[in-house]
C-alpha cells in the first residue's frame, strides 16, 4: 500500500520533469502511436477490397487489434522501458547499487521510469474499442463488462510476464533480454489476425507455448462469434485471467531466481 502511494506521487513528478522538454515531450505521443494508426489504416484499405479474411470482417479484426494494443500499452507503461533500463544497468555494472538498498529490487526497477510513450496507444485502443463495439453491436452489461475487464487484466498480466521474464534473462546473460523480447514481439505479430488462418502447429504455439492467442483471439469469442467453433476447446475463451495470474506469478519467480543467481559484471 505504501508503495502504491509513493508510486502515485512519483508519476506526476516524472511527467513534470518530462514537460521540461516542451514540444519534444508532447510529440512523443503521436510519434509512438502513428505506427499503429498506419497499421489500422492499412487494414481498412485491405478490407475495402477483400471484405473478409477467413470469415472475419474488418471490425472483428479491429477488435483483435484493440485488445492487443491496449493490453500491451498498459504492460509497456510499467515494464518495457524499465526492463530496458535494467539491461543497461547490468551492462554498466550500476545494478549492484540497487541490491544494497533496503527495498525490493523489483519495485526499485519499476519506479526508475514510466513509459509515458504508451499513453497515446491507450487512447487509440479505446477509440478502436468504441468503433468496433458500435459496429458489431456489442452491448456491455454487467456480465460482459466483467468478462471484458477480466480479459483485459489477464492480457496485461500476460504481456507483463513476457517483459519481466525477458528482463530477468539479463541476469543469466547480459544483452539477451532485448533480443529475446524483439523475437517475442515478432511472434506476437501473428495475433494481429485470427489464428485460424495459420497452420495447426502455429496455433498450438500461440495457444500453449507462447500464449499470445489468449490476449485477443480467445477472449474476443465472449463478445463475437459466440456460437462458432473455436480451435482446441470452447472453454479457452474464459482462460485469460487465470493464465495471466499464473504467468505473472511464474515471471516473478523467474525474476527472483535470476537475482539470486546474479553475480555482477565486475565493471
Amino acid at each position: 500500500m505504501n508503495f502504491i502511494r509513493l508510486y502515485l506521487a512519483f508519476i506526476p513528478v516524472y511527467i513534470k520533469s518530462k514537460t521540461e522538454y516542451g514540444i519534444y515531450f508532447y510529440s512523443d505521443f503521436w510519434a509512438f502511436t502513428i505506427g499503429h494508426v498506419a497499421n489500422c489504416t492499412a487494414l481498412w484499405v485491405f478490407f475495402q477490397k477483400f471484405h473478409e479474411i477467413n470469415g472475419w470482417n474488418f471490425y472483428e479484426v479491429m477488435l483483435l487489434f484493440a485488445f492487443n494494443i491496449f493490453t500491451y500499452g498498459i504492460a509497456g507503461i510499467f515494464f518495457e522501458f524499465q526492463m530496458n533500463e535494467l539491461e543497461g544497468m547490468i551492462h554498466e555494472g550500476t545494478f549492484d547499487g540497487i541490491l544494497v538498498k533496503p527495498a525490493s529490487p523489483f519495485l526499485q526497477i519499476i519506479c526508475r521510469t514510466f513509459g509515458h510513450f504508451f499513453l497515446g496507444d491507450i487512447v487509440l485502443a479505446v477509440v478502436l474499442f468504441f468503433i468496433s463495439f458500435r459496429a458489431l453491436h456489442i452491448v456491455i452489461d454487467l456480465q460482459t463488462g466483467i468478462a471484458f475487464v477480466g480479459s483485459l487484466l489477464g492480457g496485461i498480466l500476460i504481456y507483463s510476464s513476457f517483459i519481466v521474464m525477458t528482463g530477468a534473462a539479463n541476469f543469466w546473460s547480459v544483452r539477451t533480454g532485448s533480443v529475446a523480447r524483439n523475437l517475442l514481439w515478432d511472434v506476437k505479430g501473428f495475433t494481429d489476425y485470427p489464428i485460424t488462418i495459420y497452420k495447426k502447429f502455429i496455433q498450438v504455439i500461440l495457444s500453449f507455448v507462447l500464449p499470445f492467442a489468449f490476449i485477443n483471439f480467445y477472449p474476443v469469442h465472449m463478445f463475437i462469434k459466440k456460437g462458432e467453433a473455436m480451435p482446441f476447446h470452447s472453454m479457452l475463451r474464459f482462460g485469460t485471467p487465470i493464465l495471466g495470474i499464473a504467468m505473472f506469478f511464474l515471471a516473478y519467480k523467474v525474476w527472483n531466481k535470476g537475482i539470486n543467481r546474479y553475480q555482477g559484471t565486475e565493471s
Partner: protein, 267 residues
C-alpha cells in the same frame, strides 16, 4: 581520395560484424514477418481463384512472390543514415567531421554502405535462400528482372535520400526518432510494402500515386512480376529520377543552412 571512403565503409562493416552471432535470430525474425503475410494471402485466396486488379488477374503464387520481394527490399530499406547523422550531431562529432578533408555527405553514405554490405551477407542472402526454398517464387524474364534491378536501386536511392533529410533535421530538432516513425508509417501505408497498390482505386490509390513512397516497394516488384508495359516502365523510371533530383536539391539547401545553424552542445 576514394581510399578514405572505402576505409570508412570497411570500418562500419567491421562494427556491424559484432552482431554476426545474431544472424540466426535476424533470419528467424525476418522469416516470421514474411510468413504471417503469406498466410494472410493464402487465407484470402482460399475462397477465391485469381483476384482481379488494375494490372490484370493476380494469382496466389504471384502474391507470395510479392511478399518475398517486399521482405527482401525491407532489409535494404532500413534506416541507417538518419541515425548516423543524429549521433554525430548529438555527440558533437560533426564539428570534427567538418574540418576533415572529406565530404561529409559522402562520408555518411560510405558508412551506410558498409552497414549495407553486412546486411546483404548476413540478412539478405539467408532470407532469400529460405524464401526460395519454402515459398517457391515465380521467376521473372531477363528483361523484367533488369527493370526490377534498375527501379530497385532507384527506389533505394529515394529511400536513403529521405532518411538523409530526416538525419539533417537533427540540426534543428533533437529527437528525430519521431520523424523516423512518421516516415516508416507513411512507407508502410503508401509504398505497397504490405498490400500491392494494384488492388485499389479511388482516393487511396490517387494519394499513393502522387507520393514518392511507392517507388521503394511497389514499382520494382511490379516490374519483376511483368505487370508493366514499355510506356509505364519509362514513366516510372522517369518519375524516380525526378524524385531523386528533388530530394537531392532539398538536401543541398538544408545542408548549407544546417552548417550555418550548427551549435555544438559542449562536444
Amino acid at each position: 581520395m576514394l581510399k578514405a571512403y572505402i576505409e570508412i565503409a570497411k570500418n562500419s562493416f567491421m562494427t556491424e560484424m559484432e552482431y554476426r552471432n545474431m544472424t540466426f535470430i535476424m533470419l528467424l525474425s525476418g522469416v516470421m514477418g514474411m510468413w504471417v503475410q503469406v498466410f494472410i494471402w493464402q487465407a484470402v485466396y482460399s475462397t477465391k481463384g485469381d483476384i482481379s486488379s488494375t494490372v490484370g488477374n493476380i494469382g496466389l503464387n504471384e502474391m507470395i512472390t510479392y511478399v518475398l520481394l517486399s521482405s527482401c527490399i525491407a532489409i535494404f530499406a532500413d534506416n541507417h543514415m538518419s541515425w548516423i547523422i543524429f549521433r554525430k550531431v548529438l555527440k558533437g562529432e560533426v564539428a570534427m567531421d567538418l574540418i576533415k578533408p572529406i565530404n561529409f555527405k559522402a562520408g555518411i553514405f560510405s558508412q551506410a554502405f558498409g552497414a549495407m554490405i553486412f546486411m546483404i551477407i548476413f540478412k539478405f542472402i539467408p532470407i532469400l535462400v529460405v524464401g526460395i526454398l519454402f515459398f517457391k517464387p515465380v521467376l521473372s524474364t531477363p528483361f523484367n528482372f533488369l527493370i526490377f534491378i534498375v527501379t530497385f536501386i532507384n527506389g533505394l536511392a529515394i529511400f536513403n535520400l529521405m532518411t538523409f533529410i530526416i538525419g539533417l533535421l537533427s540540426f534543428w530538432y533533437t529527437w528525430i526518432w519521431q520523424f523516423n516513425r512518421l516516415l516508416a508509417s507513411l512507407i508502410q501505408l503508401f509504398s505497397g510494402a504490405f498490400i500491392p497498390l494494384w488492388f485499389f482505386g479511388g482516393q487511396f490509390k490517387a494519394a499513393a500515386d502522387l507520393l514518392p513512397f511507392r517507388f521503394i516497394y511497389y514499382t520494382p516488384i511490379t516490374a519483376y512480376l511483368g505487370k508493366y508495359n514499355i510506356n509505364t516502365f519509362v514513366r516510372e523510371i522517369g518519375l524516380q529520377f525526378l524524385w531523386i533530383i528533388i530530394l537531392y536539391l532539398m538536401i543541398k539547401v538544408m545542408w548549407s543552412r544546417a552548417v550555418d545553424k550548427l551549435v555544438i552542445n559542449g562536444g
